[in-house]
């Protein structure tokens, strides 16, 4: 047998091809086995996220509702600061007449109101007046008679700036910027809230993670080192709230924390707090931190516990027998071995906290709410889905960046769930 001649398998084919065929078959089978899960993830996870990202830039309502006006506005210079001429008003009148009969003008007003407050009422009012317009007389004066705001170039600039099919407006808005006639500029001072909210979300999430760690570490240590009987009971106590409905737990915190609640009543009864000076523990950031620490605590304790369980007690004994004090034993021998558990617990708690919204909505008042509450507001109340999507996309990017940083500092290989 020479080197060049292929090895033949039992069925007479070259062995290499036969092997490949078998491998391919295996791969297809493996793929078929995971296909249901893959499809499930694609349909319920990847597709909605992609759709959400798309919504944050999609913007066809202006060009669809006011096609003639958009074309006519091409020749108008926003920076000139002048009200557009008769031609543009004529185009607007024709567009609005159509939009009003299809009852689409209010949607357009709502859309443009996201960019410039006052647009919604402008379109609603104008919509009522459009039927009475005399199409043969000069239209500019008639529009100004319905609502003098039509003379304001800012209105026209907003329409022009949003006439393209895709927009960066939602993302600009999500970081407190807007598109002015001279390019990107800061939003008016009273509308700048999102950077502050992102900052608050991160600050509160870090605080919650820290307090979870401080409270959870000793409990996990006890769990891992007590006798099996006692630690089992303790474990049930840790898991019990975990099995209770989130809403029930949050409502229980309302009862405990409010000014006439159990905690304040007890403090007043003991005499620690004056009756007319009760502590404010709810409807602010304190309330959010307390309730969320409690709700997320098991996510810190469980990974800590399972890592601590694997630390051999012999190391501690060895350190002590070599003359280390209790503190040195703990700090130099035990603690470093529990770091992977801390890493896993912290990242779980932090990432869960950053996207939480039910608990802050119920106990956070106005100062203790997260960016997710604002996203929920835009998705379910103001229906500004574009801005909600942009905020969500930024939050997603933020989490990924933080995760990358975490990987750099702690190292993701250093994270253990057990």
């Amino acid at each position: 047998m020479s080197d060049s001649s292929p090895v033949i398998a039992a069925d007479g084919r070259p062995l290499k091809a036969s092997l490949n065929r078998a491998l391919r078959r295996q791969k297809i089978r493996a793929l078929l086995l995971i296909a249901p899960l893959l499809l499930f993830v694609l349909i319920t996870f990847i597709a909605p996220i992609a759709d959400m990202l798309f919504r944050s830039v999609e913007n066809d309502i202006v060009s669809n509702t006011l096609p003639r006006t958009v074309v006519a506005l091409d020749g108008w210079d926003a920076a000139s600061g002048e009200t557009p001429d008769e031609v543009i008003f004529a185009a607007l009148a024709a567009d609005l007449a159509e939009a009003v009969s299809a009852k689409r003008h209010t949607q357009l007003g709502t859309r443009l109101n996201y960019e410039l407050s006052g647009m919604s009422s402008l379109f609603r009012k104008t919509g009522r007046g459009v039927k009475k317009l005399d199409m043969d007389a000069p239209l500019r004066e008639q529009f100004l008679e319905i609502e003098e705001d039509w003379a304001d170039p800012e209105i026209w600039n907003t329409i022009k700036a949003n006439s393209s099919k895709y927009t960066a407006g939602y993302f600009l808005n999500a970081v407190d910027l807007q598109m002015g006639p001279d390019g990107i500029e800061a939003r008016p001072e009273n509308q700048r809230i999102y950077i502050m909210l992102f900052g608050r979300t991160i600050f509160l999430s870090v605080s919650i993670t820290l307090s979870c760690f401080l409270l959870g570490y000793p409990i996990a240590f006890l769990l891992a080192n007590l006798k099996a009987r006692t630690s089992n009971i303790l474990m049930i106590l840790v898991l019990l709230p975990f099995w209770t409905s989130l809403l029930v737990r949050t409502s229980a915190w309302k009862v405990l924390l409010q000014q006439q609640g159990v905690i304040n009543d007890t403090l007043v009864w003991i005499g620690l707090v004056a009756d007319d000076n009760r502590l404010e523990l709810i409807n602010n950031q304190t309330g959010t931190i307390i309730a969320m620490t409690h709700i997320l605590l098991p996510f810190m304790i469980l990974p800590l516990y399972s890592v601590m369980k694997t630390i051999p007690i012999t190391y501690v004994r060895a350190a002590k027998s070599l003359g280390a004090t209790n503190w040195t034993t703990f700090w130099r021998v035990y603690f470093p071995q529990s770091v992977p558990g801390i890493g896993a617990g912290s990242i779980l708690v932090f990432i869960l906290a950053i996207g939480y919204y039910i608990t802050p909505a119920l106990v956070g008042g106005t100062s203790g709410t997260f960016i997710s509450n604002r996203i929920a507001y835009h998705i379910s109340s103001s229906l500004n889905w574009g801005l909600g999507a942009a905020l969500g996309a930024i939050l997603l990017a933020l989490v990924l960046v933080l995760y990358g940083l975490y990987d750099k500092i702690v190292g993701i290989d250093n994270v253990k769930l057990g």
Partner: protein, 366 residues
């Protein structure tokens, strides 16, 4: 043979099951004491008269406009009849989300023989709006928390007076009523309030006034919340719908008093979503015809202190269904209650709600 019998059996089963299958009708309202009054006065008698209909209660009225918009966007409207305020009815009508009603042919005539249009009169504020009640947003306060030596609060402006009445307040988490009270209590004349609210300066002035109590305010969104906050003693004063306050004072005997001055009058009624299937639209119209006739509107006032929207119902309003007290003095329309009343300009709010909502919500988180 055997198969035939089986099929015959199945057929009989299917036929006999059909009449038992009740038709579901989702009615959206405000929850709590108000939904209970509708259950007693409208839903129960209607279901008794129409055994084929099963009414499902949904408490989403506070966010009805947003949800109807989202349902229209998704092309699947799951609600049949929706209870909304006048301003929301006008908005939904403008947006083509509510069905237009011809009052005289689609609503019952008055008991006194008047046409529906004449009977409802000014209450028909939009082609889509089927009026139900007149209510007011007013204030309740804890009688046991009034500082010693001071008079009890009398109305909206006392909310802004932190010196005389320290303690937490609860206000509705939306601009309606709060913006008007802020201006009127800042010294703006009644007739100028809405003109001022149209301007940036007027809005800034209202927000500045609200800023003075922002730290002491708990914001509520469900209409049962302020009543709960008052019952728990969490707040000293709370804005709430007058019927809710009535039920907590008269029915539950809570130590709460009414502060009526500058109460805000508003209308509430039904709308039927546009684009329902013919069958569901017919069912919804049939329900609304029944639920807004003279007797039914008067019946509701036996359970909660809201004024019926029909002129012909007024003489039929008598005593509370279980407590036996006269309802008249508890109605927001009783002239002895308030020195000043504020009539909500619902058509103004229909135009400006989106603008001010955005500003108000941004102001809240700042």
């Amino acid at each position: 043979m055997k198969l035939n019998k089986l099929m015959l059996g199945a057929g009989v089963l299917a036929v006999s099951a059909a009449p038992l299958m009740a038709q579901d009708m989702t009615i959206v309202s405000w929850g709590g004491a108000y939904s209970a009054s509708q259950q007693n006065a409208y839903h129960d008698p209607y279901m008794a008269a129409n055994p084929g209909v099963n009414i499902i209660n949904d408490e989403s009225s506070p966010e009805a406009v947003a949800k109807l918009r989202a349902m229209a966007e998704a092309g699947n409207t799951t609600w049949d009849v929706v209870d909304v305020e006048a301003a929301d009815a006008i908005r939904l009508c403008d947006e083509g989300l509510a069905m237009e009603i011809d009052a005289d042919s689609q609503l019952a005539n008055g008991d006194d023989g008047s046409t529906a249009t004449a009977d409802f009169g000014d209450m028909l504020v939009s082609a889509c709006f089927i009026p139900q009640i007149v209510f007011s947003t007013t204030f309740g306060y804890r009688t046991d928390m009034v500082p010693a030596g001071t008079d009890a609060p009398t109305g909206a402006c006392d909310v802004f007076d932190l010196e005389t009445y320290p303690g937490k307040r609860a206000l509705n988490k939306r601009p309606i009523a709060n913006m008007e009270w802020a201006l009127i209590c800042d010294g703006v004349a009644y007739d100028d309030v809405y003109d001022m609210l149209e301007t940036d300066e007027g809005q800034a002035r209202a927000f500045a006034k609200l800023d003075t109590i922002k730290d002491e305010t708990i914001w509520w969104s469900a209409s049962a919340e302020p009543v709960q906050l008052l019952a728990d003693g969490e707040v000293f004063m709370a804005s709430a719908y007058n019927g809710r306050l009535f039920s907590m004072i008269a029915e539950q005997g809570q130590p709460v008093g009414m502060a009526w001055n500058w109460q805000m009058f508003d209308l509430d009624g039904w709308i039927i979503p546009a684009n329902l299937s013919d069958e569901r639209r017919q069912a919804a119209l049939d329900y609304v015809y029944f639920a807004t006739d003279t007797q039914r509107l008067a019946d509701q006032a036996k359970f909660i202190s809201y004024g019926p929207a029909r002129a012909s119902s007024a003489p039929l309003v008598g005593q509370h269904a279980t407590l036996g007290i006269e309802m008249g003095p508890h109605m927001p329309t009783d002239p002895n209650n308030a020195e000043n009343t504020f009539v909500n300009n619902y058509s103004w709010w229909a135009d400006y709600r989106d603008d001010l909502d955005a500003k108000f919500q941004a102001w809240l988180v700042k």
